[in-house]
Amino acid sequence: MNLDRLIFGSNILEDNYIRDVDPRIKLISVLIIILATALVSSSVSYVILSALLITGLISVRPGWKLVWINIRPFIFLSLLTFLLHLIFSSGEGQLLISTAGLEITSGGVVTGAVFAWRILLFFAAAVLFNLTTDPLDISDAVTRLLKPLKVFRLPVDQLGLLIFLAFRFVPVISEESQAIYAAQVSRGYDPGGGFIKRLRNSIPLISAVLASSIRRAGHMAEALEARGFHPDRERSSLRIFKIRFSDCIFLTVTLIVSAGSVFLAYYV
């Protein structure tokens, strides 16, 4: 496992309950949790949803380092939200600090905390999903869930293939860009100091990565055609998903907890 960098879909946890839940059910459950989080902004419901997600995370045993690496990018976003709400939310509650035209009120602190918490909940749900679901399963699940939209002539299968190829290419391109970076450095490439300079200096990297990606995509298209792929034909799938009893329990638990948290928010 590559623990130093976050590469999508390369850290799937095996041997746990959530890993084996039908990906469609899992995707729906994550959407339900995110919807519940978006619908309400009360700390009671957030405590319940956090408890659900934390028990879920603990039960798959990711190890603290993996959780930290996954959550780290979003902590900055969460802190930024907190600060923005702290400064700009209109003053309700007690006035805490007032300097240089800035007024920080207790109402602002509470709103900021709730919104920062909401963002962390969003990402915790997504991280739990990503840690336990194969990218292949994700694209399969999306394709199958969007099937009804075929009525509106939406190219669902092609969309699914698109998602799958995108997922599949992320680690490859990431690895290749590292190789190109190393190659350029060995030829005397210097990333530069300031922001503008770095941006300008990154052109040789980006153009090389872009060129190789396009080349790769061309190869992929040829390989697909060579194997008889035709976008409009019906494709069969190696894996057949079946909804089992344990999947139903999983969905019921998420539904009940999410509905309960929404209900409590309006009740309390």
Binding site: N16, Y17, S59, S246, I249
Partner: protein, 209 residues
């Protein structure tokens, strides 16, 4: 040195025991399920008090959590179904030496039906996933099972019972005060105890082969 061999013997013994339990004939499994149901009936009578709450903690849900772990897939649920069914036929082994269909249809019947779901779920997970047999994941799974699979059906039936049989609609706050909050501390203690026991008694390798 001697301690190490002792630990090895214990690890081998528990692996053998679980392997036997997994591969044994259906008749044996029914016997085991009945045994665990009886054990649940006995533990339901054990009660002790936590210092900060007047509500007693009974051993019942502890037995439910362990039934799933000990009997494994399907059979944990079977033993709890036996417990509920035989209790409904009149064996007075529900909490407080009560029994009969009236208990199952009464205010606390939902919890007993929840036992079946919780034992099914925990049995499935422990049998299938080796990593889940450690303390933290098991504690997380057991809390999930207690909260969502025992308390939720219990509260639903409690709400239906109070509104239909007693004819008075209770508010959510009253309902939670009746059927949830008094039991939370006890449930946490039981989950911790059951997860520790699971960690000790379950083998840390796959016994299904």
């Amino acid at each position: 040195m001697q301690l190490a061999t002792l630990a090895d013997t214990f690890a081998k013994a528990r692996l053998d025991a679980f392997r036997w339990r997994y591969n044994t004939a259906v008749a044996h499994k029914i016997g085991l399920a009945l045994g665990v149901a009886i054990l649940t009936g006995l533990l339901a009578q054990v009660r002790f008090y936590l210092p900060w709450t007047p509500v007693p903690v009974t051993g019942q849900t502890f037995a439910v959590l362990m039934a799933g772990v000990l009997l494994g897939r399907h059979w944990g649920g079977v033993s709890m179904a036996l417990y509920a069914a035989l209790g409904a036929f009149g064996i007075p082994w529900f909490a407080g030496w009560s029994g009969g269909l009236a208990v199952l249809a009464g205010p606390t019947g939902g919890y007993i039906l929840g036992f079946i779901l919780a034992a099914l779920f925990l049995g499935h997970v422990t049998d299938k996933y080796v990593k889940s047999r450690n303390f933290l994941p098991m504690a997380a799974l057991m809390s999930m099972a207690t909260a969502a699979l025992i308390f939720v059906p219990g509260l639903i039936q409690l709400a239906i019972w109070t509104s239909v049989v007693q004819g008075e609609a209770v508010s959510l706050g009253q309902l939670l005060a009746m059927g949830l909050t008094p039991f939370l501390a006890g449930a946490a203690v039981k989950v911790a105890a059951a997860a520790s026991l699971t960690k000790v008694v379950t083998p840390k390798s796959d016994y299904s082969k």
